[in-house]
Symmetry: none
Subunit: 235 residues, 2 copies
DNA sequence: CAGTGGTCTAGACCACAAA
DNA sequence: TTGTGGTCTAGACCACTGA
């Protein structure tokens, strides 16, 4: 239930929703903190905490001596970035889908412990899946997530859009990610998954994603069918 | 004067300094918020603001029910997104070099006309070269540049660092670039250049670079030995 | 000038971690 | 159970903005 959430989170969610619903438009000035605190029936400090989180997310903008305004919405790109498979596929006019090969909780390997900054007593959620564009296999990926990070979420919430779930339901702020890209020849297993011949060129992407406080929350290793996929980047 | 700074900023600075001075070491638990607020002679809310900013900077780590700890420092500043081959190689502790295979002026192909936004009466400067790290071949690349853009520069100015020459000598401001990355199998020619076997996995990078006024000034197609090179990105 | 966000106080109760 | 950080209150004064 949402009723156990802190008040300032609930206020945060409501104001955010009101902006999304168009009640407040870009550039609008919100009522003053004193007015809002009265409206919501909380102290000004609590109301300020809600405004604070919204400001950190870039949704609101505070101006000393003037007021609090709805900020112009910036690139939603930051949320998904260069590696959201679904968005890339959709932007090319195809339909993304995926098949989950494995989904289980286990202990972290040494590289997972290092990348996710975990101790060996922690558990991770591990997922393996094949991703498709219009039913053509494009990518095989293995994702590892600290189990503590997704405890309480449904499998669907985790597999469909982890980023969105963490931000909207988990109130975690997504930060940067570091990635490395290289090429290699397909193993027999990968060739089978991606409908390739063994030895065909494959693009390997390793990605560690972090929250805004620098806590790593996802380590993904992907192999893309080289001839069927391109990464596009802008700098 | 520091005296006009908010109290919580001054407390922030002092705690940060004490950590830098080694009074608190990584993993140490700080006194509780209640103790610290008494020590500094402020309310707990004010003290919490100081702790808050330090936590956001990753200097401190809070643990509910346990205490506040000095976080392990994770610096590793963002390696800027520049896909400068020389910089990447140097950052990995190797020595970059290159061998020019071809360097000539010609008419643009249709894809070059499109990417560089040229008409067919314009000329381009075309360069082919192999790039090395510590004398190991890493990459074969073909670069196309509108000839008007580099008229008057020496061959050395163009091949050594085109970006620097354009900015310093040409007074052109470099802007964004768009890139695509995919994987393919090495052709016989590429295999020869990069000391690979035909069919080995190769990373292909296509890059169009623009000035700040959106004028394209370089179109580069590179093929990297897949097993010898990785791209690192930060988003 | 009046109104705004920024800072600060001195309390309080809660959920959680560790002993 | 004790102590911790997390949340929350009902005030207060400040520096700044804009009319």
């Amino acid at each position: 239930m949402t009723s156990k959430l802190p008040v300032y989170i609930k206020i945060h969610d409501q104001i955010k929703k009101e902006i999304e619903d168009g009640i407040w438009k870009v550039g609008d000035r919100l009522p003053s903190e004193r007015e809002l605190s009265e409206t919501f029936g909380v102290s000004r400090m609590t109301l300020r905490q809600a405004i604070q989180t919204l400001a950190e997310e870039g949704i609101l903008e505070r101006k000393i001596g003037s007021g609090t305004y709805v900020a112009r919405q910036k690139v939603k790109e930051t949320m998904t970035g260069t590696t959201s498979f679904s968005d890339i596929v959709r932007s090319q006019g195809s339909q993304p889908s995926s098949q989950t090969i494995a989904y289980f909780i286990t202990s972290p390997s040494s590289s997972e412990m290092e990348k996710l900054e975990l101790t060996k007593d922690k558990k991770i959620l591990k997922m393996e899946r094949i991703r498709y564009a219009d039913d053509v296999p494009i990518c095989f990926e293995v994702a590892s997530i600290p189990y503590d990070m997704v405890k309480g979420f449904t499998k669907d919430e985790i597999t469909t859009s982890l980023y969105q779930t963490l931000e909207n339901n988990g109130h975690r702020m997504i930060g940067k990610s570091s990635q490395s890209i290289s090429a290699l020849s397909a193993s027999e297993t990968i060739a089978h998954y991606l409908d390739l011949k063994k030895g065909d060129a494959v693009l390997r992407l390793r990605q560690v994603s972090y929250l805004q406080d620098k806590t790593p929350f996802e380590y993904v290793r992907s192999q893309y069918a080289g001839e069927r996929f391109e990464f596009y980047l802008e700098k």
